[in-house]
Symmetry: C2
Subunit: 170 residues, 2 copies
């Protein structure tokens, strides 16, 4: 058994190291936890989502999402709108303050990501992108995200300034 080649081991290690580096940014700037940042980023991108959707999209436990949402709401970065057709559902979206924080944070995160990706040869970037997409498909990730991905078609315009990135992995 070679740990050096054992896929889940390597994935977790790489994810942990990368996450530690990235989280330093939003922890320093805004004292955000990882689940809070993920929730902020999801809402920043998709405009609105339910807690369940956020959890499925980011593979976070529903209690984790629930607490992150509560924390963001306490900061007044997030608002809830109960669906009147089905009162169990709460549509979440960012307040002006939340969007402002997201607008400050997102470019920093993307710049840091670019710096990380640029450490790879272009052909390695391609390979990572291709391999990761295939792995996500094998893990059944594309299906879980379909709901939100579709909705992202008709997001509210006006905050698109962050979305025109030049060169992305996948």
């Amino acid at each position: 058994m070679k740990l050096e080649s054992f896929l889940p081991y390597r994935l977790n290690r790489a994810a942990a190291i990368a996450s530690r580096q990235f989280s330093a940014i939003y922890r320093n700037d805004f004292n955000l936890t990882v689940p809070e940042w993920r929730t902020l980023a999801t809402l920043g991108q998709f405009g609105a989502a339910t807690a369940t959707e956020i959890g499925e999209h980011s593979a976070m436990h529903k209690t984790k999402v629930s607490r992150a949402v509560a924390a963001l709401q306490r900061r007044r970065w997030l608002v809830r709108h109960t669906n009147e057709q089905d009162r169990r559902i709460e549509h979440l979206s960012l307040s002006a303050a939340g969007r402002s924080a997201y607008a400050k944070l997102a470019p920093k995160m993307l710049a840091f990501e670019d710096a990380m990706i640029r450490k790879l040869d272009p052909e390695d970037q391609e390979a990572l992108a291709k391999g990761l997409v295939a792995l996500e498909r094998a893990l059944g990730i594309d299906r879980k995200t379909s709901l939100l991905s579709q909705r992202s078609e008709n997001e509210t315009p006006g905050e698109d300034d962050l979305r025109d990135r030049r060169r992305r992995v996948a």
Copy 2:
């Protein structure tokens, strides 16, 4: 900001989902936690290591390793040998019972990994392997693991039965 393409987000999601599936195996069979399994696997492969080495190799916090080692020792799966040249250092290795558990578990884990990898096209397997190696290099992982990787050259033979896998990612 496209979460769909944001590297640390995707890495963490894939790692979390994969880890959840894999951990079900050793949790069911032996009631092992993730850190305990990682420690067991590291010692099972390398024969012996210090707690610091295990932590660096698997990107686990030293307190996490310390607790996992203590738990494995409580099961009598692990023994400590204080280095007499430097009495701060403890060389850890598996007991017969520990090796036995590892021998039962490792083939299951590898079989499950094979099933997961086989969901990918061969060219996607290659791409993932290539991309992951490059990413690890960019994250500085290869350096951290060098100590243990070198030692793995002269491991004790006799437990090599698990190491002759045919087709591996990386």
